[in-house]
């Protein structure tokens, strides 16, 4: 078990470093933020000075090393746009996004689990296709369209929920549902294939042969072990969430880190973008790590194999 954990840790560390390098590289190719920072009447010497001051005149690997060595201590520099430490900015906005994505995942599971299990049980039938249709409906509908429709129905017409904002549990409902609907199809597909895999395994056939009633088979044997692919699915999905989160946060005026990242890219506020992406990657990777650990515990074949 220890070796497994170590192996996973190393790979995850590599992933985080890889992401930070990728982000760093991309940002420095994009553009020149110095022009955005200088006041209107600045001249060429000002430009050179700023360039030097921000360290943009050194070769990229050198700049990356400086960034990385400070980053591990928690110093991601100061936002070029707002003169506050990037770390503080990102940390401030992280909780709303995390809560939103968790709620979205829960919502996705609520939709995808029953549909996925049903589809797996009734493979290739009309029900299977119907579940696919329902699941896909959530994703095929553009998120912001779904979001605004929900706002119109529940906030404007029925007046039972607040249209946007962050604060109480009622503020969570619509954004979580919107995000969940976005994630549901892929989640459903993965749940379905996971359950199919389990159902075909020998011990299930043995249970059936022994004469256990089908519900017992499903609940007692299949379900518990089907949790493995489901947990795995969660880990995978977490990484895909940023895209859905951006639109959801925009439509519902949610003060999250996804919109912060997009805005910072637009403002070419490098320190904040780097900090946000690296921290997000860390979280995603940590979630995947936990998932792999849990799965490894549950299923010895996984940690001993490959």
């Amino acid at each position: 078990m220890k070796y497994y954990a170590l192996r996973q840790l190393i790979q995850l560390a590599v992933v985080v470093v890889g992401i930070s390098m990728l982000v760093f590289g991309i940002l420095h190719v994009i553009g020149d933020p110095v022009l955005l920072l200088l006041p209107q009447n600045a001249g060429k010497e000002e430009y050179e000075r700023y360039h030097k001051m921000l360290g943009l005149d050194k070769p990229i690997p050198v700049q990356y090393w400086k960034f990385a060595s400070r980053a591990v201590q928690g110093d991601f520099g100061t936002s070029w746009y707002t003169s506050t430490p990037a770390f503080k900015l990102v940390l401030e906005r992280m909780p709303p996004t995390l809560y939103l994505t968790t709620a979205g995942l829960v919502m996705a599971l609520l939709i995808a689990l029953p549909l996925g299990i049903l589809a797996a049980l009734k493979r290739h039938s009309f029900v299977d296709n119907l579940c696919t249709m329902l699941a896909v409906a959530g994703q095929a509908m553009p998120i912001f369209w779904l979001g605004i429709m929900l706002i119109i129905i529940f906030a404007v017409r029925l007046k039972v929920l607040p249209a946007s904002g962050y604060g109480t549990w009622e503020h969570f409902l619509m954004p979580a549902f919107t995000l969940g609907a976005f994630l549901a199809p892929i989640t459903m597909r993965l749940v379905r294939s996971g359950v199919i895999e389990i159902l075909n395994m020998e011990y299930i056939r043995t249970a059936r042969a022994k004469g256990f009633a089908e519900p017992t088979v499903i609940v007692k044997h299949a379900f518990r072990n089907a949790c493995i692919p489901v947990i795995t699915v969660l880990g995978l999905q977490f990484g895909q969430l940023l895209g859905g989160a951006i639109v959801t946060e925009t439509v519902f005026a949610w003060p999250g880190v996804a919109t912060l990242t997009v805005d910072s890219i637009r403002n070419q506020d490098f320190p904040v973008v780097q900090c946000a992406v690296v921290l997000l990657a860390l979280i995603i990777v940590a979630v995947n790590f936990v998932v792999d650990m849990v799965v490894g515990l549950l299923d010895p074949r996984i940690r001993l194999g490959t």
Binding site: G31, L35, L36, L38, P39, Q40, N41, A42, R70, Q73, G74, D75, T78, Y81, T82, S83, T84, P85, F87, K88, L89, L91, E92, R93, M94, P95, P96, Y99, F144, I148, I151, I152, A155, V156, K159, P162, A163, S164, G165, Y166, G167, T168, T250, V251, F252, A253, P255, T259, L260, D263, R266, N267, Q268
Partner: protein, 511 residues
């Protein structure tokens, strides 16, 4: 700056961020105002954003303030002013005013606020606006003298454009602290700022002027326009600004809110690269520029696309600005003449133009009007390709660098100074960052206009300047914008002509 963030600090930030934000305000004593994007700082002279100016009005005061009904500048923190000579202004200050931190307002605060902005090493964004002031001298606790670099006729207008900070705060606290903690003399105090989410203001009960009715103001950041409107008509927000003309009927029919519009100083135009800042291009030829102006049926666009919410201008000088020439009539669409001019200029088969456009930040329905303009220009032979730059900051930066041409969207708010100079200098003078026009004759007129204190002479100069700009078709002229506000029916509020929302003037509607 090296700073080590301990785990504990990080955890506590996480916890703080997760606490519910329901506060002790009730619906009746709180006014909710929505903005599309958040400010980058609470230090107004350090920001280019209009939102920073608006928020600044709530927590700070200026030396002078505009009366919204008469549109004239009147006393605020300054009670009287006069010129001592051509280059000196003397200003008398109001007594008995206190800052939010308790310290009294005196001349030293004025001196500190101005010197801070004028200091080239501080690189404040607003420095260019006040650069004509050479120095500030304290005569006594309530009298200040401003020495200017030559005659400065805009002095009075510009007194409305700088907030007065507490000298004590500026002296004792670091720059970063001032960005987040505004200490002013204004009608509201800042209680809390959750970035990108909301600000909470509380009434200053020791305010020297008229106390605002609402005890609390919540400023919510809602980036999506459709969501803003939904919030307004479902009661979540009381006042929104920059309502697109096409959405006015949604609000008016809702029964919960209404729209109000007002002409604002902001004027829109398409800048044409006459000065060839981006290199040679068709618009260096006056005939091509005139053809562009003659191709577009701006009146129809205002009527159909803006639902009549625009005031056609002959040049970029706004009807509300001092020096506007009411006798000058704008270009009327004439496709035949436009085609002829293009052919004369050497483009008998039309010409290809790249058009740099941006998102709707200050100009309503900009994408729709752009599309309509492009369609009109096509009828005269201009093959226009739109190059959409998704971020306004990036677009503005490129324009500043000289890469905006050959044609791009531009609008100018005059920094809320109702004077022709406030646009001619920044947008038409040769060599200015945001000007793509270069004409020595015009530059001489601009210089003359700001070198005398005689308003009559200035008006004459500006009439000549506008005729020049019109005949030379410096840019593609459009219209003065009209701001549209959405106001909840539980609130009484006037749409402000200077684009500065003042929550402290809002009152509840009588049933």
């Amino acid at each position: 700056m090296r700073r080590r963030i301990s785990i504990g600090f990080a955890l506590s930030l996480l916890l703080l961020g997760s606490m519910s934000l329901a506060d002790a305000q009730t619906k009746d004593d709180t006014l909710v105002y929505a903005l599309q994007s958040d400010v980058d700082t609470w230090d107004p002279p350090n920001s280019v954003l209009r939102e920073a100016i608006i928020l600044g009005y709530h927590v700070f005061d200026h030396l002078a303030a505009r009366d919204l009904k008469t549109r004239r500048v009147g006393p605020s923190l300054a009670t009287a002013w006069k010129t001592i000579d051509d280059t000196t202004w003397e200003v008398k200050l109001r007594q008995g005013v206190k800052f939010h931190d308790g310290s009294p307002f005196t001349a030293k605060d004025v001196k500190a606020s101005f010197e801070r902005v004028l200091d080239p090493t501080k690189k404040m964004t607003a420095r260019g606006n006040h650069a004509k002031i050479k120095g500030v001298d304290i005569v006594d606790d309530y009298t200040v003298r401003f020495r200017t670099d030559g005659p400065y006729p805009l002095f009075v207008e510009r007194m409305t454009a700088l907030v007065i900070h507490s000298e004590k705060a500026l002296r004792e606290k670091p720059h970063e602290w001032v960005q987040e903690n505004p200490i002013g003399t204004g009608p509201y105090k800042l209680v809390r700022w959750n970035r990108k989410q909301e600000h909470l203001l509380v009434r200053n009960d020791d305010y020297w002027g008229a106390k605002p009715h609402f005890k609390h103001v919540r400023i919510r950041i809602i980036p999506e326009q459709a969501t803003q409107i939904a919030e307004l008509i479902s009661g979540g927000v009381d006042i929104i600004k920059a309502v697109p003309p096409d959405q006015m009927d949604v609000i008016d029919k809702s029964g919960q809110a209404r729209t109000a519009s007002s002409p604002i100083l902001r004027t829109a135009m398409l800048q044409l690269d006459q000065a060839a800042r981006g290199g040679p291009n068709p618009f260096t030829d006056r005939r091509v520029r005139q053809a562009a102006n003659l191709a577009v049926d701006a009146d129809a666009i205002i009527k159909h696309v803006l639902n009549g919410l625009g005031d056609r201008t002959a040049t970029a000088v706004n009807p509300m600005a001092f020096g506007w020439d009411s006798g000058l009539k704008p270009y009327k669409q004439d496709l035949g003449r436009a085609k002829k001019l293009l052919a004369e200029a050497g483009f008998p088969n039309g010409v290809d133009i790249t058009f740099n456009t941006g998102p709707p930040v200050v100009e309503p329905a900009i994408q729709q009007t752009n599309d309509a303009i492009v369609a009109d220009m096509a009828k005269a032979g201009f093959r226009v390709k739109q190059n959409y730059i998704g971020d306004n900051t990036v677009l503005v930066a490129r324009i500043k660098e000289g890469k905006g041409g050959p044609m791009f969207n531009w609008s100018w708010g005059y920094y809320s100074v109702f004077d022709a100079d406030a646009i001619l200098y920044d947008v038409f003078k040769c060599g200015e960052n945001y000007s793509y026009y270069c004409n020595k004759e015009l530059d001489d007129m601009i210089h003359a206009g700001r070198s005398t204190l005689d308003q009559k002479k200035r008006a004459e100069i500006y009439v000549k300047a506008q005729k020049l700009l019109f005949d030379d078709a410096a840019y593609l002229y459009k219209w003065g914008l009209r701001g549209v506000w959405g106001i909840s029916n539980r609130v009484e509020y006037q749409a402000p002509a200077d684009e500065v929302d003042r929550m402290f003037l809002a009152t509840p509607r009588k049933k």
